[in-house]
């Protein structure tokens, strides 16, 4: 299964709306990086509004996407993390260090703009 990645000017927009199995998560990681390279994107918003569970594996994949994109020169913002998901991650002791987040897609785009102006 492939997660669609939309291009909007200098940005990539992704809304994760499928149950994330390991293979889909890893494929997604690769697809985002390829697309950044292909489009010369400066920023990426990954919206997780529809994701109702993030375990340690998916957390690692998401954290890695952020770090890998940063290496390539693109900024990533995660948006829409559900209350239950935030609670579970902190319960588990998983801290996504230095990962920019925002409440929703709109604020995520604002956040990217700010990050890129710095």
């Amino acid at each position: 299964m492939r997660i669609p990645i939309l291009k909007l000017h200098d940005y990539l927009l992704i809304s994760v709306q499928v149950e994330l199995d390991d293979q889909t998560a890893l494929q997604f990681q690769e697809d985002v990086l390829e697309k950044i390279h292909e489009e010369g994107s400066r920023g990426v918003v990954i919206d997780l509004t529809s994701v109702d569970m993030i375990d340690s594996f998916i957390a690692k994949v998401l954290g890695d996407v952020v770090d890998m994109s940063n290496l390539m020169g693109a900024r990533v913002v995660l948006t829409g993390i559900q209350p239950a998901v935030a609670i579970t991650l902190i319960d588990m002791g998983i801290v996504l260090d230095d990962v920019p987040t925002a409440l929703d897609l709109e604020q995520g785009l604002d956040r990217l703009q700010l990050e890129l102006e710095d």
């Binding site: 109702d52 569970m53 340690s56 239950a84 579970t88 002791g93 998983i94």
Partner: protein, 133 residues
């Protein structure tokens, strides 16, 4: 109400099937959305451990009752290599697979009761229970 369900774990798809079955049963037992996420995440960690370390095994999910309390019980069983250093796998950040090392200590914190029974070269059974509040 379906009170018990088994999922065989022999591929990555088993991980997804186990957490979907767990979420369904947790909802039926009456857990709220936060506990549903905790239970689903715990099942996902246990199922992935089976797949990663033992290749195959089984997740059993059932309703639990004790002294008037109701809850959900997860039993993860495999006939894999067993866990050599149980004390260390319960430490945050300890990993032999390149992961975050958050799996088992995470499951323990997400659930109320947690028990590991592991014998080298025989296999591992992990039982975890979450009670309704």
């Amino acid at each position: 109400m379906q009170v018990q369900t088994h999922v065989d774990i022999h591929s990555e798809w088993g991980i997804v099937a186990a957490r979907q079955a767990g979420r369904k049963l947790a909802r039926e037992i009456g857990f709220g959305s936060v506990d549903q996420a905790r239970i689903t995440t715990a099942i996902s960690e246990l199922a992935r451990n089976i797949y990663l370390y033992a290749n195959k095994g089984q997740i059993q999910i059932e309703e639990a009752t004790s002294a008037g309390k109701r809850g959900i019980k997860i039993i993860a069983t495999d006939q894999g290599p067993g866990i050599k250093e149980i004390r260390r796998v319960m430490e945050d950040g300890f990993t032999t697979s390149g992961g975050l090392g958050a799996g088992l200590p995470g499951v323990k914190r997400l659930m109320d009761d947690f028990d590991i029974d592991s014998e080298l070269k025989v296999g591992t059974t992990i039982t975890a229970i979450k009670w309704l509040r």
